[in-house]
């Protein structure tokens, strides 16, 4: 089946089988390997991308369901020279070690900061419920997300 979608701002038409997952389209068909697969039960969140602006587990969306949608992956939010503030905060706060969960964690964190009304430590921890990290104990991840949240203008 033909799927037309915008990935990181670029229009793509991809031929996939009906049972292809969005994450496989991203990794195998488009070669965007920054999005990772860490489990097979839709729990770990390593595959988190933005689908029409909201965080989703790309291992739990069929590629055909993304037809006509806008997909943003970790490769689409910033570059080494112009990091997204969340990427910069992760580096600044040492919020990553092995780096495997990091892309998904960053994509979730961006959605969290963009859509939560007010964030404190507890709500950041709760808001990252859908992402597992085995290295950091989450301490510095929470710090990084709060750093970005605090720099955002007040929302009402």
């Amino acid at each position: 089946m033909k799927v037309s979608l915008t990935v990181n701002g670029r229009d793509r038409v991809v031929d996939v089988a009906a049972n292809t997952l969005l994450v496989d389209l991203i990794r195998s068909k488009l070669g965007l390997t920054g999005t990772h697969v860490g489990c097979d039960t839709s729990q770990c969140g390593a595959c988190t991308v933005h689908l029409d602006g909201r965080s989703v587990k790309s291992c739990t969306v069929l590629a055909v369901q993304a037809d006509g949608a806008e997909v943003t992956t970790i490769e689409g939010i910033g570059t080494t020279d112009a990091l997204h503030p969340m990427q910069a905060a992760f580096r600044e706060c040492h919020a990553l070690q092995c780096g495997f969960c990091t892309p998904g964690m960053i994509m979730s964190a961006i959605d969290l900061v963009a859509n939560a009304k007010a964030l404190d430590e507890q709500s950041v921890r709760k808001g990252l419920e859908g992402n597992l990290c085995r290295c950091t104990g989450y301490h510095n991840i929470v710090k990084a997300v709060l750093l970005v949240a605090e720099s955002m203008p007040e929302r009402t």
Binding site: H36, T41, I74, G99, F100, C101, T136, G137
Partner: protein, 780 residues
């Protein structure tokens, strides 16, 4: 001093690729013309393989081949070995059950691979695997650790499933100590089975070039050289020089990626067999079933004290689960990494420990973050805390009374180790202050007013890291030396490529090792590149585990750097026409004390490669290698304090605060060290409250996914308070000790001491799940 030097929290250079999605993990790598492997796995804990009929799979479009253990055996592939020989107390060797890479006649745990389907696509391989018809004859299985020695015999050469019956210490002296005791404290408990769960599942991309007879195996390994050695010397897949193993970015290991596993081995073999690259990436479900698990002990411990609360003797009897087969280092974990640590931070004069290592029809058990040392700490720190409560002595005070004092080092323990240095009281004092220990009663009262129960618990742990003097280790049964190699290759333009046998899978070596070398050479941090994880580029290495990278691998780099400087001095002396012993090297420049001449490091490097004005008796080039073999273990130690609140209605335990004060000796990058401590603590809290690998009585793993195996999430954790004290290691050039495992070692006992304190009970089994805590409160 530069802001990238030793002691500075330099931001990690590896981060840029990880945060932009440009990491390169094994599954990100593809080879032209590659195929995909799916393994055939046992659904039974123990069964005879009567027949395997692959004909259905052969008809599935895209299936390239189906192979079983018999095919590997026909190619004379050897067993997967265990690299550490442990002897029983009667002097006999441990009994090793045969462990072919793919099961041939009998499968011994659920998930054990006995065959592989290779296909053009992953989907075709899955389809093919589904239609292979295997007839099994189910056999009686031994699942329970408690009854393993009186249950079905798993390996024909291992009666009672007893791999070894090991002991350490002086039994008679310990018995005598118990006779003199004024007080005895006894505890029986289990140390729960854990499943490592590095976020990146194991994977392999294997290829074989028939024209050169060379294998290229890209895989998720913490120690590619060791894997090469084992695949060559024991499995006999290929000679070492025909086998290149690369571990690119590796997404966490925690021990589980030290070992040589069936799947990676089979992928490499199959690449030669079919003449095409073979790729395999584990599903998380496969990781749960087949990554080596951790811990899983049953222990009875007794502590003898005199009337003043001074420890007289410790007696420990442990049964350790080894799983169905001995994994790469399995035998050493509940023995040399456990029994030797039972002195803890204390002057206990007599200790005797006995360990039965037994086989069960479960996944192999091997080193997982801490490996033996969390279990030892749990024994000591739970029983010391319990003794304090029984005696009505403040647990901090009882510990202080028994600490090895700072002036007693080096200190020989009754269980083989000699501690080089430490100041346990200093860590304890700092941790008590950080935890506001003295005002705990007020906080407890406040909790009580809200209907909650509050507890505080200490854990004064010690660990032996930086594995270890090779000669001693080999005497004790290790099959390999435990040194590390390093190479400092100075390029003609003065920048440096560093090669290390350590392997980073999250620890940040590319940053820390560059800090060390650039600091030592006085050159910019940016001018040092660190290469690791490739047997084709790095000479040799023993990899990263046991918190050894900096203490051993870093020391090798210091040695190599010293050689570079020494040679540089000879070149500089010649160039400046000054006596060699008048040459100083500071801040990146060679200077002659006899004149005011100076040469930069870059100028000397250039001269080494363009030797016009150059000593005639000196080889050109400026590249030095070193092997560093440690003189002793290092002994990081510290105090961890957990404070918890229990909801008596639901049994939920909330970790309110966690303080860790650790003595890692000198610290190269405090930011990275803190991160290591955080991660370890989370795994330790996970063990205490959340994580449990459970096999039901039929031998099925019922915690085989994240739906049932409770991985710590962000909202399960508090923010941590971490601090350090410093007594530099006395026997390595950096004075460092290692920090990777401290959190996982110290935390479980601290949390469980806090939980039992809150509940007013002697013990709750780990993990202290809500239902267990609720039942403990009801006395049921």
């Amino acid at each position: 001093m530069s802001d990238t030097g030793i002691g500075k929290s330099v931001k990690r250079r590896e981060d840029l690729r990880f945060i932009t999605g440009r990491g390169r993990y094994t599954d990100d790598i593809n080879q032209p013309n590659q195929t995909f492997a799916v393994f055939l796995r046992s659904p039974y804990p123990r069964a005879r393989i009567v027949s395997v009929d692959p004909s259905g799979a052969a008809e599935v479009e895209g299936v390239v081949g189906v192979f079983t253990g018999k095919d590997l055996a026909a190619d004379k592939l050897g067993d997967l070995p265990c690299g550490w020989l442990v002897k029983s107390k009667d002097g006999s060797d441990m009994k090793v059950g045969p462990h072919p890479p793919l099961a041939v006649d009998v499968v011994n745990y659920v998930g054990e691979p006995y065959g592989v389907v290779i296909a053009e696509t992953l989907a075709a391989a899955r389809d093919g695997a589904e239609v292979v018809v295997t007839e099994f004859e189910e056999l009686d299985a031994t699942v329970s650790l408690a009854s393993a020695m009186d249950s079905a015999q798993i390996h024909a050469n291992v009666p009672r499933n007893l791999c070894y019956d090991w002991a350490l210490g002086d039994a008679a002296a310990t018995d005598a100590a118990f006779e003199r005791a004024a007080h005895l404290t006894t505890l029986e408990f289990s140390n729960n089975r854990l499943i490592p769960n590095a976020m990146e599942p194991r994977a392999a991309v294997a290829s074989y070039d028939a024209s050169t007879e060379e294998f290229n195996l890209i895989t998720t390994s913490q120690n590619p050289h060791l894997e090469r050695l084992i695949l060559s010397a024991f499995v006999q897949l290929a000679p070492e020089h025909k086998l290149r193993i690369t571990a690119p970015d590796v997404g966490g290991g925690f021990g589980s990626k030290i070992f040589v596993y069936p799947e990676e081995t089979t992928a490499a073999w199959a690449a030669r067999r079919i003449g095409r690259p073979v790729k395999w990436t584990a599903d998380r479900s496969e990781s749960f079933l087949t990554d080596a698990h951790g811990r899983d002990h049953l222990t009875k411990a007794e502590l003898a004290l005199d009337k003043d609360g001074v420890f007289l003797g410790l007696r420990v009897k442990t049964r350790a689960n080894l799983g169905a087969y001995l994994s790469t280092f399995a035998s050493s974990v509940p023995t040399f990494l456990y029994g030797t640590l039972l002195a803890g931070q204390y002057r206990t004069p007599a200790i005797y420990v006995e360990v039965e290592g037994v086989y069960t029809n479960t996944a192999p058990v091997d080193a997982y973050r801490g490996a033996g040392r969390p279990e030892a700490t749990y024994v000591i720190e739970r029983i010391v805390e319990t003794a304090a409560r029984e005696l009505g002595v403040d647990p901090a005070e009882l510990r202080r009374r028994n600490f090895i004092p700072p002036d007693a080092f080096p200190y020989q323990t009754p269980v083989a180790l000699e501690y080089d240095t430490g100041n346990y009281g200093a860590s304890l004092d700092k941790a008590l202050a950080q935890a506001q220990y003295s005002s705990f009663a007020d906080r407890r009262a406040a909790s009580e007013r809200r209907g909650k129960k509050r507890g505080i618990g200490l854990s004064c742990y010690i660990e032996a890291c930086g594995l270890a003097p090779s000669q001693l280790a080999i005497q004790l049964g290790a099959g390999v030396g435990l040194y590390e190699s390093g190479e400092v290759r100075v390029n003609p333009t003065g920048n440096v490529t560093v090669f290390t046998g350590s392997h980073s899978h999250g620890q940040g070596h590319e940053t820390t090792f560059a800090q060390i070398v650039s600091d030592k050479l006085g050159i910019p941090f940016e001018n040092v590149e660190v290469v690791h994880g490739d047997t084709g580029r790095v000479e040799f290495g023993l990899g990263t585990y046991g918190s050894r990278s900096l203490a051993v691998g870093g020391s090798a780099l210091i040695k190599a750097t010293d050689k570079v400087i020494a040679k540089g001095k000879r070149i500089a002396a010649h160039m400046m026409d000054a006596p060699l012993d008048s040459i100083d090297f500071t801040e990146g420049a060679f200077s002659a004390r006899t004149s005011n001449q100076k040469l930069t490091f870059g100028e000397v490097a250039f001269a080494a490669y363009v030797p016009s004005n150059y000593p005639t008796d000196l080889e050109p080039g400026l590249s030095e290698k070193a092997f560093y073999d440690p003189k002793n273990f290092t002994f990081p130690a510290g105090t961890h304090i957990a404070e918890v609140e229990v909801d008596p209605e639901t049994g939920v335990v909330d970790v309110l605060s966690f303080v860790a004060v650790d003595d890692f000796g000198h610290v190269i990058n405090p930011m990275i060290v803190e991160g290591q401590v955080h991660g370890g603590i989370a795994q330790g809290i996970g063990q205490a409250l959340l994580e449990h690998g459970i096999y039901d009585e039929t031998g099925q793993l019922i915690t085989g996914s994240y739906m049932d195996y409770c991985m710590p999430r962000a909202d399960d954790m508090p923010s941590f308070i971490v601090d350090t004290t410093v007594t530099p290691c006395t026997h390595n050039p950096l004075g460092v000790k290692g920090c990777g495992e401290a959190g996982a070692i110290g935390a479980p006992a601290a949390v469980m001491n806090a939980v039992t304190h809150a509940l007013g009970v002697v013990d709750v089994a780990m993990p202290a799940t809500p239902e267990r805590v609720w039942r403990a409160l009801r006395g049921a």
